[in-house]
Symmetry: C2
């Protein structure tokens, strides 16, 4: 603590690569989604769990947990998507505080049209370049770092 340990040159290089990948991969995905289907990554993130749920309805709390978003962010995004007719809001029968988010027909068409090309893009850019061994270790690496981040957040 009194004596800061800097990153080694190898570590700095890997860290720079990670930041670059995060940026470039995000950009590639945003572009592909926007061009092929007119959806943003935020749209897709919410439509995907909705389309996989029973009747295309999820409680906002559940949807937020699925995607790992804060309530405020989720609420804003739902408002924007509601305005474009992708989802609707409904009252929650069990809990008068709650609100349910329902996929519209238009929303279902949008996600079903977008999903194949999106999956293909992920597979092509992320997984096709990796050997089975690399993919296994990659998964382990993600687990270890995630563990550290979550212990950190407490």
């Amino acid at each position: 603590m009194s004596e800061p340990r800097w990153l080694t040159p190898d570590q700095a290089e890997v860290w720079a690569k990670y930041r670059r990948l995060r940026r470039e991969l995000q950009r590639a995905q945003d572009q592909q989604l926007q061009q092929d289907s007119g959806l943003s990554a935020a749209d897709y993130a919410l439509l995907a769990p909705l389309s996989e749920s029973a009747d295309g309805v999820l409680r906002a709390r559940e949807l937020g947990a699925e995607v790992g978003w804060e309530r405020s962010r989720l609420s804003h995004q739902i408002s924007r998507m509601e305005k474009r007719g992708l989802v609707t809001r409904e009252a929650c029968a069990d809990d008068a505080r709650g609100s349910m988010v329902r996929l519209t027909e238009k929303g279902r068409e949008a996600i079903e049209a977008a999903a194949p090309a999106h999956a293909d893009n992920v597979r092509r850019l992320v997984f096709d370049p990796l050997t089975p061994d690399e993919m296994r270790v990659f998964g382990d690496v993600l687990d270890r770092i995630l563990g550290a981040v979550e212990r950190n957040a407490g």
Copy 2:
């Protein structure tokens, strides 16, 4: 193309982990930076290359290339940082279109105060959990995916 290939369950799991890591790690870094030094990740991203350059001055074009940002994003962020006294803008002697970005004394103090804790955080969350082998493979994985993304962007 006519027949979409979906992700295998293993791939879907790794992909979900990647997205989660991207989100959680970003959040951890934002919080740490903001709390310890009052800087945002965007501030830090620009201050770091500036502080390492001769005299703390870089042409906007160079700074943009360093961080991989578009011109518009860079210009907006510089405006915000200028307003807070972290950097100043100057005319470019070589090229009348250009503009130079100069670190202020306040900007240098901010980055120098923030850097050790930031580096420590990266090391602790990302590299300490990895074995040397894992880190080596991780670097290879990033290279391969980056290669695919860049071939994709053309």
